[in-house]
């Protein structure tokens, strides 16, 4: 049954974003580090949404970084799941794939 597998997969993502992210390295990433070292970091501009409610993976109004970061992560995971999953569902093929049809055939034979 796929439902249990999907539930576990989603749980892993939620735990990573909601809890694990607090323990991530806070050093600049490769690009930011290179930009700083080679001297083009100053050309970066603030994002127009830098004051948004979940900017920089924090939640505005939530003081505690662990809670605010976890909340932003969970919101992000659910947003991505909804948009990407919805998009995939909308463009999917409406007939079962060949391997699946074969497997169903095998099941009936057995």
């Amino acid at each position: 049954m796929s439902r249990r597998f999907f539930a576990v997969f989603l749980l892993v993502a939620l735990v990573l974003a909601g809890v694990g992210s607090y323990y991530a390295s806070s050093h600049p990433d490769g690009l930011e580090y290179v930009a700083e070292k080679t001297g083009f970091l100053d050309s970066a501009e603030d994002s127009p949404v830098a004051d948004g409610p979940f900017a920089d993976y924090q939640t505005s109004g939530v003081e505690d970084e662990r809670v605010g970061g976890g909340l932003a992560g969970v919101v992000g995971v659910l947003l991505v799941l909804g948009i990407a999953g919805g998009l995939a569902w909308a463009v999917r093929r409406r007939t079962p794939s060949a391997p699946e049809a074969e497997r169903e055939l095998e099941d009936t034979n057995l």
Binding site: S2, S21, A84, E106
Partner: protein, 228 residues
């Protein structure tokens, strides 16, 4: 590798925006062949997982860090065209809601991590799959090599874009050496995470792994006689 606004000039950002829009449009049509009732939910989950994993920066040495980009991971699990869509959605949500990666730089980020990351990961994986033994055990290692190479290749393409439209007067060679050097190290992390995740999914549900499709079809039921 999220490019903020300002690193690249307007013409370069517009050009990558056009490339990204074209690729997403093409992916929307091509992904149809990769997705059905069973695998469409998988695409949403893979995108959600990549979003989560991108929050987990791991240290790669002197004061810098990296995180999974997820291009090879997405391509192998849900197919390259669906992978482009997954990465594009991740980058869209990050740019719009988390201020991670610029808004005018969204096309650049989709080009680098979506098109180049997914494309390199998939092409290397497909090439290796053609020469490796046709078994499920080949899937995770092939995905790992694709992941390893996808990161420095994306870093190289960033350097090319910077050479064309960089807004600061910095020597291209200097940027290239630093970008590829650090991103090769990050690529090692990318390979490890990709191998672990692909390996786990192949072990649990090989039927949901796009990159393992041909391998399952070739696996037929056989009746074995017990040794007397």
């Amino acid at each position: 590798m999220h490019v903020p606004d300002g690193f690249l000039d307007a013409p370069t950002s517009v050009a990558t925006g056009v490339v990204a829009a074209g690729a997403v449009g093409l992916a929307l049509r091509k992904a149809r062949t990769e997705l059905d009732d069973r695998t469409a939910p998988m695409a949403g989950l893979v995108a959600a997982f990549i979003f989560a994993a991108q929050m987990i920066n791991f240290p790669v040495g002197a004061g810098t860090s990296g995180h999974l980009l997820g291009g090879a991971l997405a391509a192998v699990l849900v197919g390259p065209w669906t992978g482009v869509l997954c990465l594009s959605v991740v980058l869209l949500v990050q740019g719009l809601f988390m201020a991670d990666g610029g808004i005018t730089a969204l096309g650049t980020n989709i080009t680098l991590m979506g098109i180049v990351g997914v494309g390199t990961g998939w092409l290397v994986f497909a090439g290796l799959r053609a020469v490796l033994p046709k078994t499920l055990a080949s899937v995770a290692p092939a995905a790992a090599v694709g992941a390893l190479l996808s990161v420095p290749v994306a870093a190289t393409v960033f350097t090319l874009l910077f050479a064309v439209g960089g807004q600061a007067p910095v020597e291209t060679g200097t940027v290239f050496t630093a970008m590829v050097g650090w991103h090769t190290l990050i690529g090692v992390g990318e390979a490890v995470v990709t191998a672990l995740v692909v390996g786990a999914v192949v072990a649990a549900r090989p039927d949901l792994v796009y990159g393992a499709r041909g391998l399952l079809a070739g696996r037929t039921l056989e009746i074995r006689k017990a040794a007397a």
